[in-house]
Symmetry: C3
Subunit: 343 residues, 3 copies
């Protein structure tokens, strides 16, 4: 038992602590191909080197969410192995594209702690940073999780609740160097609607659905070296079900949103997100989007668009919460992000 990782418990965290996560990962065309096999991902910038170069990039970067998953996956053994719940995300920013050949590592700083009144669990806030082989930060985000205490009688730490931005202001978003949508090819991108065609408050039903299989969500989750037992071991939960990694639902919903948002090419900001209900194999995931905001950017022809992306299991589009303000049972995900779109 001493040699295996039992994970950290609530009393093992201290504000200011920095945890360097294990298992750096070099990505290649293999990860890209698998991402296309596991999700109906079709954004042209992530599919074609030629298209990406025509937009001013060095080549087609790894899907933004794949980069997120790699960075996130490394944090699981240190942050969420004993998590009861993944409570939220904030201040997520993509700072540099990830290309084939890059090696990613990640680390997390504990930025908040709050013991729950039951004395048996507490909330831990971490800011996780992904770094490439040149030591450059490729992305960062805050997440908070509810973690078990090892010993309920351990003293409660001083409560520190970080002051997090509810929404990233557009000026915080980082546009990849060189990005230029002024000669954007709308035909190759698969969508004629541009930034100016979307209105704040507009909703889009992405129409398509995918019924999820055990083999697929496990392969996806493993690919990011996320090894939380609950995703893989059918004997772990009493009901014999394997809980699907929340990030799998994020990627599935984002890929489905191509149909109506094919030009929302790059994700640059993650304002928040809730995994409203668990997802299991056999669920048919559908998605809809609400346009929350729009902003200009300094890059040529590039606009920012803030989107609420909702994934449901067979629910009617555009219904999110019940009369008590609770997520409806068919809602899987409520994600708030900034993307870049041609103007």
């Amino acid at each position: 038992m001493a040699k295996t990782n039992a994970g950290r418990f609530f009393e093992d965290y201290a504000v200011g602590q920095v945890i360097d996560h294990a298992v750096p990962r070099t990505v290649s065309g293999g990860e890209r191909a698998l991402y296309h096999a596991l999700y109906p991902a079709r954004h042209a910038l992530h599919s074609s080197d030629e298209f990406a170069r025509a937009c001013g990039l060095a080549g087609s970067p790894l899907d933004d969410l794949a980069a997120f998953h790699v960075v996130f996956g490394k944090s699981v053994p240190d942050v969420s192995l004993n998590a009861v719940a993944n409570l939220g995300y904030a201040e997520g920013r993509w700072l540099l594209p990830v290309h084939a050949g890059d090696t990613l590592r990640s680390s997390s700083e504990v930025i908040g702690l709050k013991q729950n009144s039951n004395g048996r669990t507490g909330v831990v806030w971490v800011r996780t940073t992904g770094t490439n082989q040149r030591g450059e930060t490729v992305m960062e985000y805050v997440r908070w999780v509810m973690v078990r205490k090892r010993d309920a009688s351990a003293p409660a730490p001083e409560t520190v609740v970080p002051d997090l931005k509810a929404v990233l202001p557009p000026e915080d978003l980082v546009i990849p160097e060189g990005l230029d949508f002024s000669a954007y090819d709308f035909t190759l991108a698969g969508e004629r609607h541009r930034w100016g065609d979307y209105e704040v408050g507009e909703t889009i039903d992405h129409v398509d659905g995918v019924t999820i299989e055990e083999a697929e969500h496990m392969m996806a989750t493993r690919l990011w070296q996320n090894t939380a037992k609950v995703h893989f071991d059918a004997t772990f939960r009493e009901d014999g079900k394997r809980l699907i990694y929340g990030g799998h639902v994020i990627s599935m919903a984002r890929a489905l949103s191509f149909n109506g948002l094919a030009n929302a090419q790059l994700i640059v900001g993650l304002n928040g997100g809730a995994h409203a209900n668990p997802c299991f194999a056999g669920d048919t995931v559908k998605a809809w989007t609400e346009v929350l905001d729009k902003a200009d950017t300094p890059a040529p022809g590039v606009g920012a668009i803030r989107l609420r992306l909702v994934a449901t299991k067979g629910g009617a589009p555009f219904e999110l919460k019940d009369d008590n303000g609770k997520y409806r049972p068919e809602v899987l995900l409520d994600l708030d992000y900034w993307a870049l779109m041609p103007q």
Copy 2:
């Protein structure tokens, strides 16, 4: 609704119209590895760079059918999203090998239209062309599909039925530049029988079978960015079944045909094909081949062989049609193609 692609209906097509399909795709070793994971593909020329170089090529090209699937997949949102049936293929030719790093796009020209007598559907013929990043055509084929009308009262277009070759004559086949089988290594290829050993009329039972899983056919179909709902959404059909992409059956049957036709290394022509019956997860696919024709080619040591490849779900080999000339219910695929083989 306005932002999502509802697909074209029969009255949206006109003869002579050229549709440039969206989402160019750069392929890498990732697509090759996945092709080997999804199908029991073992043709040495598509497996080994060394073997391919010994045959005069620059390296091991992407499997011919993978190239076909990439080109085909792009056409789905524009051609077959509202298709009732995929009726046939003709005049398919592979014109240039596809290598890792190549970026493929595709476009289709409408070459025929014929409204059905019921007034609610019509047949659309398109010639689809795949192009690489240098603007070179890598393959082309004709397919025809039955498509719904949006409005049954829309006027019928003038009927144009294209004049298609029932079989490509050998002189139409394009041999990859430099291909030379004169120093072919039969041991490494896994089969001692060469072009001269196959006789017209000969039949081969490929013996092996593969039981198909949902996760596999969905991953394969997504990999080619073919997003037709019916393959992914178990709630789409009334029977709760996901229809397997016909191309998945083609690739599975072709891979199974290695056992008996390991030297039929490259596919260069597609004369025709019928998806005789639908395929679903749980079906065990088997395959048999009939040698239809043979021809010389100008390339050193290279012969062409015309093969009928039949896939069945558990059927006895060599039985194709019933007494009324209809495909037997266990027949999934009847494909007529030209391959290249060492002499």
Copy 3:
């Protein structure tokens, strides 16, 4: 029938015979990504080019077991197509790392034959060698299988039972050129325990479990171009089950052993192995390890550790055999190997 490979029967083998196996294979980042998607593989040296370079290698090599599977897979059509049982392994050695771009082939020499007393089967011993495109041997191992006779009346060959080492002595192990663990990063590797912290006789329960799906084991097995019917065709066995390739269980158990043995970075020797019971989809694979031996090596900071890796389907850890000395029914694998670890 004449054109398909019926496989060799017992009477087709002769001691001294060398069989060159078909279908050479070029590996790329695609195979690496798939290995990470199919198994919870996290050893840093196989995940990160940077980590591997910091250990003196040219880059991150293909997982040792993936190299084994590629070499093994090629031997199946020639050695075990008509095998009744895979009886054992011995004298397995990894001699050179395999990198993306390498092309592997393999051949086997028959080194032993013994007809069984029933006269209908016999045991065949082969030494299989994997070679890269420069003709360098990358690995070798002995395995023996029980094979059916085509004709029970065929004369029994002279019995030759090879003299095999029960355990490779440490001096037989080949350390990759340049390997240097003197500046090893234990944090990035994910485990603080080093060679000196493991004691002979110590046992480690690897805690995690993975419930196996049909799609995954078939994709893994196909990836290595192992096409034995029994793994793919649900109609082949009377019980309708697809037997899982023993190598899939080996890789799954090895990947699970990361949790407790993250620093056992490279496998360099395979002393023996038994597939104690068959594995089927739905089984939840868990693993435990016993430290069998330790040895110094001449490489800087590199120690060798001999491990017994046991995979079970839901069994209690550390229980291997029953009172009669037979493997308990829940035991899937009993593997004895040498790995390299930082000192």
